[in-house]
């Protein structure tokens, strides 16, 4: 009996890694026409994402800021084909788009060429509602696709409500500090990328990213699009409106998130963990972690935190770097021999 093997992995585009800002492509796929807030880091993430991917790309975006603020009828900023998908369906949108293209090309109904498929979602759409569809998409190794979660740590489009990716204690319209309850969000930020990496060991590329580091961000998008199979990138996006700070500090806050160790920059490539930039230097002891207060006290959403709260926050970050099996990433490890 003949064995039906899976269709061979589709070809991918030639998207070389860049060395430095000057090699980031001039191509703009996300241009004027959007109406994101001043200092919106997620808008920069969109711009960098499509610069890295290039024009032969289909982007599907789930509901959130990057849908509502970006794509007003008659003034779309997207130069590439773009389609909205529902809040919880970035994974399904990527799968459906990739499956449609794969099927049509395999059957000779569409000219064969490697077309990048990127689905993006916010933390509400990705970390909360869309988690199961993202997980399902990551199980389909026959499709080349990238799911990018732009995480501004709240449902920022709908008035800043707490999400499963919001930090402990953050003030949001669903977690406002009050006279009786100072801390309304008792949840710790969900450890999303490691959860997806541990749960889908066949996925060849999962990374965290930050728009403050342009070349690194570009390279991560390109690695995700060229390695083959489904991939996932989780980026931290400072949000002036939701985090309550002057828009000119978005870049700086992104860097502070990394330098204080509250956000860890890494890639998991074919099962190997590679720390990037400042996170690598911190892990190797080359540079010290900045106190987390340097990050928290720059943001109005943490203005109600007391000295005790800040101490608790620092202890939690310290614990993740000092007690976790893999600092800042994997909280559990093997039982120690006594």
């Amino acid at each position: 009996m003949t064995t039906m093997t899976q269709a061979p992995p589709q070809s991918v585009q030639d998207l070389p890694q860049v060395r430095g800002v000057k090699q980031i492509p001039v191509f703009e796929g996300f241009t004027s026409g959007h109406r994101t807030c001043q200092g919106c880091e997620s808008a920069l993430v969109m711009r960098l994402m499509i610069k890295a991917a290039g024009p032969r790309t289909i982007v599907v975006g789930s509901t959130g800021c990057m849908y509502v603020a970006n794509t007003t009828y008659y003034s779309t900023p997207w130069v590439v084909p773009w389609m909205h998908t529902q809040l919880g369906s970035s994974g399904s949108a990527a799968t459906g788009t990739a499956a449609g293209l794969a099927s049509l090309m395999r059957k000779g109904k569409m000219q064969e060429e490697p077309i990048n498929v990127i689905a993006f979602c916010g933390d509400g759409g990705g970390v909360d509602m869309g988690l199961s569809a993202i997980s399902a998409a990551l199980q389909h190794d026959e499709y080349n696709l990238l799911i990018l979660c732009y995480d501004n740590e709240s449902y920022a489009n709908t008035d800043i409500q707490v999400s499963g990716s919001s930090p402990w204690g953050a003030n949001s319209t669903f977690s406002p500090p009050g006279k009786v309850h100072r801390i309304m969000n008792h949840r710790w930020k969900k450890n999303t990328a490691p959860m997806l990496a541990a749960g889908h060991p066949d996925v060849r590329y999962i990374a965290t990213a930050c728009g403050s580091y342009g070349p690194d961000f570009t390279n991560k998008i390109r690695r995700a699009l060229t390695i083959g199979g489904p991939t996932f990138i989780h980026s931290i996006d400072p949000c002036p409106k939701g985090w309550d700070y002057d828009p000119k500090y978005s870049h700086e806050l992104g860097m502070l998130a990394v330098e204080t160790g509250i956000w860890v920059q890494y890639e998991i490539v074919d099962g190997e963990l590679i720390l990037n930039g400042p996170s690598r230097a911190i892990a190797r002891g080359i540079r010290p972690r900045k106190p987390v207060t340097e990050y928290l006290q720059r943001q109005g959403r943490f203005a109600h935190l007391t000295e005790e709260d800040l101490k608790f926050f620092q202890e939690k970050i310290d614990e993740s770097w000092e007690k976790w099996w893999i600092a800042g990433i994997v909280p559990f490890g093997p039982q120690e021999e006594s």
Partner: protein
């Protein structure tokens, strides 16, 4: 080494007869239509179609991307997006599964994507019930989906082919749901004429998304924010498309009859002994079987009774139904569904039919019956009982009790 067995179904060279269920008939239609992307998620009773589809794919009978989704919502989202890049698609669900996918189902019509879905009609539990009710598929009646209720396995296969043809017509570009009564149709076998590949190829052109194709060569933005500035115009466009379906369906159905050599007079309704009938019963789906038997028996007793089966619930064939029912004295609408708190506490189909008849100068009396909920059998004697109640209304000149539940323990 075992010899490779040839697939039993799919892509036949010559027309042939097969003893198959409604679900299997639609699975064969998928292979004949060369569907590109099919998504599955288990729920009884529709999922039998996906069991047949997966076997057809496993046996190499046809080539498709068969994706087992992790929920009905994803199931419908995946085909929605595959359809946007030009792929012919199929999926389906039943009961609460159909409701789990409701968000995706809603936007599929809003985006004018010609997804074809099978609904294995099932009661909306809780409390748990596997049997047929029509409320699941009916829930999308206001959203821009074409809705068809089939009566036989043959009609299931034929309607699936018709559905892709009409849905993918650029004048339409609307999704279509093929409703099959759970168990009575999804699981019951009947002799079905399976057409040849040439016949299907002649009838069903390839899906061409045209200038709406999502592709780097056609970099459009699909579903931007329109708000109050444009939504009303877009709703109107969807309405225009739905209004155009009637002609497109008629055109496609005429061609269907030419190519395949079978079909009724009308694609929208089926009339049974209605010509001289005083009483016409109206219903959808497999209910037709006991009703036809009852009508024949009552005719033998000299009662002038007929039956009208509504095939397309959306578009609702207002004029044809008016024409068919204008000749009789009274109408009894049998609903396998219910709408709590609706006008006159009637079934959904009842209120649609009654509304359609309002504009007639000489209106027949209209009465509502709710029967067979949750898959409870509708017996010949139930139909006779309903007919007697309609006769009583004629005799007294008015409908005293608009809605009656049949076969319910009080």
């Amino acid at each position: 080494m075992a010899t490779q067995t040839l697939p039993q179904t799919g892509r036949p060279d010559s027309e042939r007869e097969e003893l198959i269920s409604g679900s299997e008939a639609i699975a064969i239609a998928c292979s004949l239509a060369d569907v590109d992307v099919i998504t599955a998620y288990p729920i009884r009773p529709y999922d039998t179609v996906m069991q047949y589809v997966s076997k057809l794919k496993a046996d190499g009978a046809f080539d498709c991307d068969f994706i087992v989704a992790e929920s009905e919502h994803s199931q419908f989202e995946i085909v929605k997006h595959a359809s946007a890049v030009g792929a012919r698609t199929f999926c389906g669900s039943s009961g609460v599964g159909w409701f789990y996918a409701f968000e995706a189902i809603t936007v599929t019509a809003g985006l004018r994507l010609p997804v074809v879905a099978m609904v294995g009609n099932r009661a909306l539990d809780d409390p748990g019930a596997f049997g047929v009710e029509h409320n699941d598929a009916m829930a999308v009646r206001d959203l821009g989906w074409m809705l068809y209720w089939v009566g036989t396995a043959q009609e299931a296969l034929d309607t699936a082919l018709l559905a892709w043809r009409v849905a993918e017509d650029p004048r339409v570009f609307l999704p279509a749901a093929i409703s099959c009564d759970g168990s009575f149709l999804t699981h019951s076998q009947a002799i079905v004429n399976v057409p040849t590949q040439e016949q299907v190829d002649q009838f069903l052109p390839q899906y061409d998304r045209g200038r709406l194709l999502l592709h780097p060569d056609n970099p459009i933005t699909v579903a931007p924010q329109v708000n109050e500035d444009w939504l009303m115009e877009i709703r109107r466009q969807t309405d225009d498309a739905m209004r155009r379906t009637s002609d497109v369906i008629r055109e496609a159905y005429d061609e269907f009859k030419q190519v395949f050599g079978r079909g009724d007079d009308s694609p929208f309704i089926e009339e049974y002994m209605t010509d001289d009938a005083d009483i016409v019963l109206v219903g959808m789906g497999t209910l037709a079987m006991p009703v036809r038997v009852a009508v024949r028996r009552m005719r033998e007793q000299g009662k002038k009774v007929g039956f009208l089966r509504v095939k397309f619930f959306r578009p609702f064939a207002t004029e044809e139904i008016q024409e068919a029912l204008s000749r009789c004295k009274a109408v009894g609408v049998i609903d396998r569904d219910y709408s709590y708190g609706s006008p006159s506490y009637g079934g959904v189909l009842f209120n649609e039919v009654r509304s359609a008849l309002y504009d007639l100068d000489d209106r027949p009396l209209v009465q509502s019956f709710v029967a067979g909920l949750g898959g409870r059998e509708v017996l010949v004697r139930d139909v006779e009982e309903m007919t007697q109640m309609v006769q009583d209304s004629i005799d007294s000149g008015k409908v005293k009790q608009v809605n009656t539940w049949i076969g319910v323990r009080e």
